[in-house]
């Protein structure tokens, strides 16, 4: 959530209000990583059964080796670390994250990691990595969701959690609309066993 960037207790409280089951704490900028590591290393007493971290996806400046080293330090404290494939230059160092690493499918603005063929090469390089399925990103490529079905068919065995939201015209995450809830429902039906991370607040009912 944009308003609470870097404020980990606030992100936790916000997520807890929705559900004590799963949370994803986002360190989308590299300079947020140390703060998040410090917060988690202090052993906060959290209610969540599943704790994920979204790794940096913006303003990358640090070397790949330095970033991976920080993520490896975080790995024992969390269940999963989500990375955008378009932010990874060399996948090899990320193998150290093993099964904790999740690769997310990208939206239509990106040039890689959007489709089955594009992601297959990433999983070829990162054979232990899981799949984080962002339904709205798939919708941005194909509003009929056939790309979404293809992604789920191809990577369902690797699926570890979902990102659920709708997208604005500028492709920002916004609350799931009724129309998208209906459109996504058959895919969600196949994913009842994995955590669903809401990437925007619930819409007002």
């Amino acid at each position: 959530m944009v308003d609470s960037r870097g404020d980990w207790p606030a992100q936790v409280d916000e997520a807890w209000e929705v559900s004590p089951f799963a949370v994803e704490l986002s360190a989308l900028a590299e300079d947020e990583l140390d703060g998040l590591s410090g917060y988690l290393a202090a052993g906060p007493r959290l209610p969540f059964r599943y704790l994920s971290v979204h790794g940096p996806s913006k303003k990358r400046a640090m070397s790949e080796a330095e970033l991976v080293e920080k993520l490896v330090g975080l790995a024992p404290l969390v269940d999963a670390i989500v990375m955008h494939p378009d932010t990874i230059t060399d996948p090899v160092p990320y193998r150290r994250l093993g099964r904790k690493l999740l690769v997310e499918n990208m939206d239509s603005r990106k040039l890689d990691g959007r489709t089955v063929d594009e992601l297959r090469s990433w999983f070829g390089e990162l054979p232990e990595a899981g799949f984080c399925f962002d339904l709205a990103h798939a919708w941005s490529i194909d509003e009929g969701m056939s790309v979404g079905w293809d992604l789920l068919d191809a990577f369902r065995g690797r699926l570890r959690h979902l990102h659920v939201s709708s997208l604005s015209d500028e492709l920002h995450h916004i609350p799931l609309t009724e129309e998208h809830e209906e459109l996504f429902a058959p895919l969600l039906e196949r994913c009842r066993d994995v955590p669903w991370i809401l990437e925007a607040p619930l819409r007002d009912l």
């Binding site: 065995g157 009842r192 066993d193 994995v194």
Partner: protein
């Protein structure tokens, strides 16, 4: 006929290489043990029964030969073969002080259910016989006793299109007994905490679900058909019973992920370094053990799949709500 696990693999796109390799290893090992035991005199009312990973068809390079000498009927003297004779033949005999490596008569297993004399050991042996056992000798006796156990549970109290409560309650009691036993043993000392904890999260959960789900599936039947349906299920490895229920309830993707996690665990359990690390982990060191963290993660994935099957599918969620708590 193609096993349910392989059909789930086809339906979910998830391969189960470790479970299928373990099945082959189990069959080869079983054939070898049957040949070795063929040299012993076996009375007509006796079976030599292997349990644990043998009964789940999940033998690894580290598996023990957990066995019992099962006598059909009441305890009697001069049973052939003796426990000691069987122990000498088997590769990794469990010793004769615990649950395994004992002479067990079927009468107390069957007739003491729920009574004062139904001690943890009696209850445990009955459940293992029912849920994860395979005969190494005396196949007909093994089948007859397991059948008699099921018939005892599926008595006059069972009703059409409802899970048999007597058996269901004893199954749940067994699962809770395993959990309480784990906690009780921790009070005695930290030895083997890690491997016990990891198995509670994985293979013990498979054992429980492998009984619970077929019992729920009895609700598809009129009561006359339930005993045979249940007996047919109990002849299969637990992972086949579970895989079939995922398929039948249109939850193949979840089933692929759940049993895929379990497949990964079975593969890791065959790795001596992983197993050694797990054996040495205590509650105090669990947070820094990569082996334990991975076992816990896989256990969570397995559990999430089973919970989704039980509480997120249409028919089973109604049964789980009505029968699991009260």
């Amino acid at each position: 006929m193609v096993a349910a696990l392989e059909r789930l693999s086809e339906a979910s796109g998830r391969e189960f290489p470790n479970l299928l390799a373990a099945r082959e290893r189990t069959q080869l090992g079983l054939d070898r043990r049957r040949q070795s035991l063929a040299g012993l005199e076996v009375d007509a009312d006796v079976a030599i029964v292997l349990m644990g990973s043998w009964g789940r068809a999940e033998v690894t390079s580290e598996s023990d030969d957990d066995f019992m000498v099962l006598v059909r009927g009441a305890d009697r003297p001069a049973v052939r073969p003796s426990v000691e004779e069987v122990s000498k033949v088997l590769d990794k005999s469990p010793g004769t002080q615990g649950t395994f490596g004992q002479l067990v008569a079927s009468t107390p297993l069957i007739e003491r259910i729920g009574l004062e004399e139904d001690l943890n050991s009696n209850h445990t042996r009955r459940m293992l016989l029912l849920l994860e056992s395979v005969p190494a000798a005396g196949e007909a006796v093994h089948e007859a006793v397991r059948s008699a156990v099921i018939d005892r549970y599926l008595d006059a109290s069972i009703k059409d299109y409802r899970p048999p409560r007597f058996l269901l309650n004893d199954l749940i009691r067994y699962w809770r007994t395993m959990c309480v036993d784990f906690a009780g043993k921790e009070h005695e000392g930290p030895e083997k905490w890690g491997i016990r904890n990891a198995k509670l999260r994985t293979s013990r959960k498979i054992l429980f679900a492998g009984g619970l789900l077929p019992v729920f599936e009895c609700a598809k039947h009129q009561r006359e058909a339930m005993p045979e349906a249940l007996k047919a299920q109990m002849r299969l490895p637990p992972t086949d019973r579970i895989a079939q229920v995922f398929i039948d309830h249109a939850a193949a993707d979840s089933g692929g992920r759940a049993l895929g996690a379990y497949d990964d665990f079975v593969g890791l359990l065959d790795d001596s370094a992983f197993r050694m690390e797990l054996s040495e982990v205590t509650r105090a060191t669990a947070g820094i053990s990569e082996a334990f963290q991975e076992a816990a993660r896989l256990g969570k994935e397995l559990e999430r799949g089973l919970l989704a099957l039980l509480f997120e599918t249409n028919d089973l969620s109604k049964l789980a709500r009505e029968y699991v708590v009260f």
